[in-house]
């Protein structure tokens, strides 16, 4: 079966490139699963989403992706993230700490959009690291 060529890039660096059997990302419309020979798609990713790249034998790659786009054409999948972090690179203690602080400021002020965004991002990082949130 044909394979997907996947590239996860952020403005400051290329985070991961390689081949995969399936890519699952979360767009603003909902989850989208891409398998080889998928029709060309350009989607807007949600803030604080988790990206899964299924690689068959090499194990799955999980990354926290904060905003950005997914573009699919001719078995090329590009994830353009404003910021992204591989699950294996996440500092769990720091992410937990960030989540708690963000939740505390949401408790204090329900209108705090900035804190909500931070909470979302921290939760995504924890999920990418394989933690239960």
């Amino acid at each position: 079966m044909a394979k997907l060529r996947v590239g996860v890039v952020s403005p400051e660096r290329e985070i991961w490139t390689g081949e995969a059997d399936m890519v699952i990302a979360k767009t603003v419309d909902g989850e989208i699963g891409i398998m080889p020979n998928h029709a060309p798609v350009l989607g807007v990713l949600v803030e604080g989403g988790v990206l899964r790249v299924k690689r068959g034998d090499g194990g799955d790659l999980v990354a926290a992706v904060h905003g950005g786009f997914i573009s699919v054409a001719d078995n090329d999948v590009s994830i353009l993230a404003e910021a992204a972090e591989l699950g294996s690179e996440v500092d769990v203690a720091r992410a937990k700490d960030a989540l708690q602080r963000a939740q505390a400021s949401i408790e204090a002020d329900h209108e705090d959009a900035d804190a909500r965004l931070k909470a979302k991002r921290a939760a995504a990082r924890l999920r990418a690291a394989g933690e239960e949130v």
Partner: protein, 299 residues
Amino acid sequence: MGAQLRQLRRRIKSVKSTAKITRAQELIASSRIVKAQQRMQAAVPYEREITHAVSAVLSNTTNVDHPLTVAKEQPATAGVLIVTSDRGFAGGYNANILREAEALKGHLVGRGLTVKPYVVGRKGLTWHRFRSREMFGEWDGFSDNPSYGNAKEIADTLIESFKAEDGIDEIHVVYTGFVSMLTQNVIVKRILPLEVEEAEAPPEGIPPYYEFEPTAGDVLDSLLPRYIESRIYNALLQSAASEHAARRRAMKSATDNANELIRVFTQQMNQARQAEITQEISEIVGGANALADAAAGKE
């Protein structure tokens, strides 16, 4: 010791310490160019992909009527983003940028536009303040090591005033493009209204027909600001690399000049020393002769 000799020794000492400083600056700049170039390289994949995505959307939608791509019929004001450095010691780097910015301003005023400067870098800020010119955006502190967050901040300000009813109608950017270690050129570009630049040759054949999630308009809405951020980030990165290259070159010629000065002064000092010794010897000989003559006279 003669006064001239002492003076020369003092000058040599001071030039030597200056040379040490410029040499250190040169070495620092050389090592930072490499880092700056790596950052430029690291940003390439994202730039390529986002340019690709923007052209994909534009080729799939026949009538693009996005506020960021439409040129206003009667442009009245133009914003100019000027990217300078925070520190000097970089030869003509900032002077070149500011001269080009002035030329652009003259050109825009000639078209009947009012020019609003947006300035990055302490050198540009002081230049504008000294001439008491009003600035509409000021950023500093990151010229030699810009992050994407900095670019985003700048892009947000620019896009906001572009969208505003009585804001700016065009945005130009003046920065220094990094060609190689030896060549850096000042580049003047219009970034809004948008013209998408394909970095590579357009791919062969018909572009694929994309599906959009949620819709083409929504995708464009969030794609275009990201594209502008990426253009500005690219300008900042190139300026940073150019700044280091300009500083390295300026500091190298300063070190060379200092070494040349030291050579000339050392020569002069040796001459002065020899002249002094010669004079001393002839004085002693003269004195001895005079004594001998006096002794001969007594007999």
